[in-house]
Symmetry: D2
């Protein structure tokens, strides 16, 4: 890719295609890309009722879906290019986030080897800066 | 609860309420309870396009959502009763599952202490018996 | 391997060699194999001071070392044969275990694919049957 | 604590006591503290044969023990003070590290709530800067 802007444009297209494909990625329809490139991807989403559990808090399943999706976008900005296949996802839930709050999803590629990629995701309350959740994602790319 | 049938009926009501609440649990609308009671809950779902990624495989985010939800239902059949709050979810993805295939989600309460509960989930291809994914879920119940 | 007894004998030799090699596996010197074969390995250890933290409880680092080692022995009883390389270890600590108590380490191969193996470990208090810890171990075997 | 130097001195004493207590923490006898304070702890160790597997690589069980120990030291520099009890440890193994190489163990407290603490650990090859492993550690502190 020819730079961070190119990477962001390309990921924006990838995201649009998967969101509109009629599969589970439709859950990502409110996700906005902030920046992308060099193994990183930052996205944001304003929490709406559709993202929450009955208590009005960010749903743990949606949190895991964000970890999965945004780290995969980050991986696609590396020379590796392809999305790979998930081997393991681990998520720690640190603090609730309520409807109306905005969260940043900050994904980073830690290492891309010949067969495995390791990715790390911070989910942060945009206003307070508090860490809401942290995820790690291991993918097979061989 | 007065027995396994009572537990299943109660969980069926809980599931209906959360699915219809307009939040992220709407993703569970196709989930069918098979059995419940004594810290266990078995559910099944026939994979449709809405549960898959672009490759037509069970989506990793939906898999994590199933781990979260069905283990929480299992926890609610213990004397503890309440759903608790997620602390950690870990999912290993072992084998793909395609649109049209049916999966069993088999959740078990491993331990309920005074403040923490530990739950385990197997996701199995109903026809072949192959393990599709395995999850562990730690909740705070204090 | 020609059967469960053959597998146990072979693993016993492997264990002796690694324990005596002067590396970190010396920590496993008190580990006794109970049974092995067909992707499974059961071992036991009587907790001594050298396995504990300052509170006299089974040390979390030793628990993780047991998850790593006994699941690798289990993997070696599959047709795959080789020990592979660790990609991820996840351990949940459910209940303490004290000096003088005996624990069983029960490892099972969940799936061996072309490149990845998935293993599961229960650590159980031998007298009470209580689950002390549960681990999952993902290895690269490509 | 009255500052970073005070924190480091105090942790040095804690480390000496646990290493000399005759328990499993004796494995940490070669660990050197680099800095400590405000929820962080950096330590280093030069890999010797006693820390490795038969292939001469940093042992996965020792890696997990380092994640456990150094993150606990980091937690003790927060206002929380006490070491807490492990609930979950997750370790990703990204790259080997050989006998004779020096590694940095960089632990950070991500969040301390009323009952749970979340810690993060990077293990880095000191010379190359490569990430060798990454761990997360969840503790109960209630």
């Amino acid at each position: 890719m020819s730079g961070a802007n190119g990477a962001k444009k390309l990921l924006q297209q990838v995201l649009s295609v998967v969101v509109e494909s009629g599969g589970y990625d439709a859950q990502l329809s409110k996700l906005c890309l902030v920046s992308a490139g060099q193994g990183r991807c930052v996205a944001k989403v304003k929490i709406e009722k559709e993202h929450t559990n009955r208590g009005g808090n960010l749903h743990g399943g949606f949190t895991a879906t964000l970890v999965d999706a945004v780290s995969t976008l980050a991986l696609m900005t590396t020379e590796q290019g392809a999305p790979g296949v998930s081997v393991n996802i681990n998520v720690s839930y640190m603090k609730g986030a309520k409807t109306g709050e905005e969260i940043l999803i900050n994904a980073e590629t830690l290492r891309v080897g010949k067969t495995m990629a390791f990715l790390d995701v911070d989910i942060i309350n945009k206003e307070t800066g508090d860490l809401v959740a942290k995820g790690s994602h291991t993918k097979f790319i061989g």
